[in-house]
């Protein structure tokens, strides 16, 4: 009884005896009210502090204030993603932030003609909406890569426009742009251009337009290094001269560099590449923000840049590789591990049927499903969920284990499982579920391989040594759904395939699931 009467500490962490304090505190505590406050302040500004209503939209301080509001809304949008519950609200904050930024800019006194703007917004809005509605969730990685390339190219165009007509942005006259602005412009355009071509290559690789294999040639690193040095040289010359020729040379060289940087990186490293390009697109926006002296662009660019960098770091950790190792590329092609080097010996393994798998899982108490890229390729998530539902009805405890680098972009598997209506609480991250494999009857690995390979723990010569893995080998039985016995992306054989308690199910992930469902229903 006593417990119920205690004040809830999380609601009133401060002593609120003073009514004035209580008032201020309540209002600042809730974000919605904080925004109401900001809005109120703006209204006060509008009605009392400016001479005429006309001058208010021309007031740079008001614009800056609203830009601050938009930046804050963007921060709240990211904060909302800390849980699924708050994420929708966060998204709304983000949309509001964008709306405020766009509308404020449209009202800017220097904007005099609206033809191009309207055409761009309506055309782009239409294209973007159609793409977002039609895209399949399995194609999400290439969609995001494609979107990144657009941010990069937009940055290039804005920088070029600023160079041609600095007066439109209030950064001086042609021929007398401050050197600082030129440095920022050069940096912005270089990062933007690298983001553009780099993302295009990533898109082509993910879409299967070019081979996902790493493309390498001798002297590649030397060439890239030379290009990098030349780029810095051009940037310095450009900043000193404001030469348009040098600007375009800088842009062309950056286009080339972006292309060459991503080309040698293999398909399974794409989670890192996409995160990295995400980060670049942010830095490019920040660079343009510095050029135009626009704090909203700087804030947003910094947020996005930091976000992409953190995701890259998480992905690198998930593979136990350094970012340099990935950028230098070539992984998977020339691995000198014992498995890849030696002649392929035939080792005995147990191939099972869908009926076997169905029987084993039906009689198990607990099953952990480990999905990988193969599940995404086969679009098997719906069939997989159906299978899990049947097992659950039989009283089996079914959960999903997600490796950080499963799939082709961060969180890819989670989205696909959510699409198939897998309950949010059934899907667990590596560190949350890894201990449970020891007390699990069946690990059902579908379309994943390297992320379960015990060689990452035991074989110091293995290219994947040190990578955190899901301990499926600790489960009583392991079922692998694979198309063939071919080793995974890293070119490493998985000795789990040959164990006595492993059952191999060959075939397309979706078909196998459907067969297991059939077997279970009989």
């Amino acid at each position: 009884m006593q417990d119920k009467k205690e004040p809830k500490l999380d609601q009133h962490p401060l002593p609120v005896g003073n009514p004035m304090m209580a008032f201020i505190y309540t209002y600042l505590y809730d974000k919605k009210f904080a925004f109401g406050g900001l809005f109120l302040a703006t209204c006060i500004w509008f009605f009392f502090l400016t001479d005429t209503p006309q001058s208010v939209v021309h007031d740079p301080n008001l614009t800056a204030l609203l830009y601050l509001g938009a930046g804050t809304l963007f921060i709240l949008a990211l904060q909302g993603l800390s849980s699924a519950k708050t994420s929708m609200q966060g998204l709304k904050y983000g949309m509001w932030g964008m709306g405020i930024a766009v509308v404020m800019t449209l009202f800017s006194p220097v904007v005099t003609s609206y033809g191009w703007i309207l055409a761009g917004i309506i055309g782009g809005g239409f294209v973007g909406t159609v793409i977002a509605k039609k895209i399949q969730m399995t194609a999400l990685p290439q969609l995001v890569a494609g979107f990144h390339s657009l941010v990069g190219l937009a940055a290039v165009f804005v920088a070029a426009a600023a160079l041609r007509e600095p007066a439109a942005f209030g950064i001086g006259q042609v021929g007398s742009i401050a050197m600082g602005s030129l440095v920022e412009m050069g940096l912005g355009v270089a990062i933007g251009a690298i983001t553009f071509t780099g993302s295009l290559v990533a898109f082509a690789k993910l879409q299967g337009l070019v081979s996902g294999n790493p493309l390498t040639f001798p002297g590649q690193h030397l060439l890239n290094a030379l290009l990098g040095v030349t780029l810095v040289g051009l940037l310095i010359l450009f900043a000193g001269s404001e030469s348009h020729t040098l600007f375009w040379a800088l842009t062309a060289l950056s286009f080339l560099l972006g292309f060459l940087l991503i080309l040698p990186i293999g398909g399974a490293d794409m989670p890192v590449v996409i995160s990295m390009l995400n980060s670049y697109s942010g830095w490019a926006a920040a660079g343009i923000g510095f050029t135009l002296g626009n704090s909203l662009l700087i804030i947003t660019g910094a947020l996005v840049g930091a976000s992409g960098a953190i995701l890259s770091y998480i992905m690198c950790k998930g593979m136990n590789r350094s970012i340099f190792n990935i950028i230098l590329g070539g992984f998977g092609g020339d691995v000198a591990g014992p498995a890849a080097a030696g002649a392929k010996e035939q080792r005995p393994f147990k191939a099972g049927s869908a009926e076997d798998a169905g029987f084993i899982m039906k009689n198990a108490q607990s099953v952990i499903i480990v999905p990988g890229y193969g599940m995404a390729v086969a679009q098997a998530q719906h069939a997989l969920r159906e299978m899990a539902d049947i097992l659950k009805k039989e009283g089996v405890n079914v959960r999903y284990a997600i490796h950080p680098v499963a799939g082709r972009m961060p969180g890819h598997m989670n989205v696909l499982l959510a699409e198939a209506n897998v309950p949010y609480d059934d899907v667990l991250e590596l560190e949350d579920i890894n201990r449970d494999f020891g007390v699990t009857d069946v690990a059902f690995v579908i379309g994943a391989n390297d992320v379960t390979n015990p060689a990452a723990k035991t074989d110091t010569t293995s290219p994947i040594y040190g990578m955190p893995i899901l301990d499926v080998d600790k489960a009583k039985t392991v079922i692998f759904v694979k198309r063939s016995m071919s080793p995974g992306y890293a070119g490493v054989d998985n000795e789990l395939f040959y164990r006595d308690n492993t059952l191999m199910l060959f075939g397309d992930a979706k078909k196998v699931c459907e067969e297991v469902i059939k077997a279970l229903e009989e």
Partner: protein
């Protein structure tokens, strides 16, 4: 007294925003990393602000065209990015 250069003010904002981004993004649950990428992508298209200024206030036709193209591309991103994020987040909402 010498006024602070706009660059230094920008840098101040930038560094602080990086820190904010760092702490906020670490709190994002790994399950929502794909929506995070989609929404940051949409949000980074705030570069449309620069594009609007170029398209709406430049005198020269080429510059206007550059601005218009940038508005177009940023709009694809803004609409597409927010919509696809919404689609993803819809899937994560608890079903009744």
């Amino acid at each position: 007294m010498i006024a602070t250069s706009p660059f230094i003010i920008g840098l101040t904002v930038f560094v602080l925003a990086v820190f904010v981004g760092y702490y906020v993004v670490w709190k994002v649950t790994p399950a929502l990393h794909s929506p995070l990428m989609a929404v940051t992508n949409a949000v980074s298209s705030v570069i449309i602000v620069g594009a609007i200024l170029a398209a709406g206030s430049a005198q020269d036709l080429t510059t206007q065209l550059f601005g218009g193209l940038a508005v177009f591309m940023a709009s694809i991103n803004i609409f597409g990015g927010f919509m696809v994020t919404r689609r993803m987040l819809d899937m994560f909402q608890a079903k009744k």
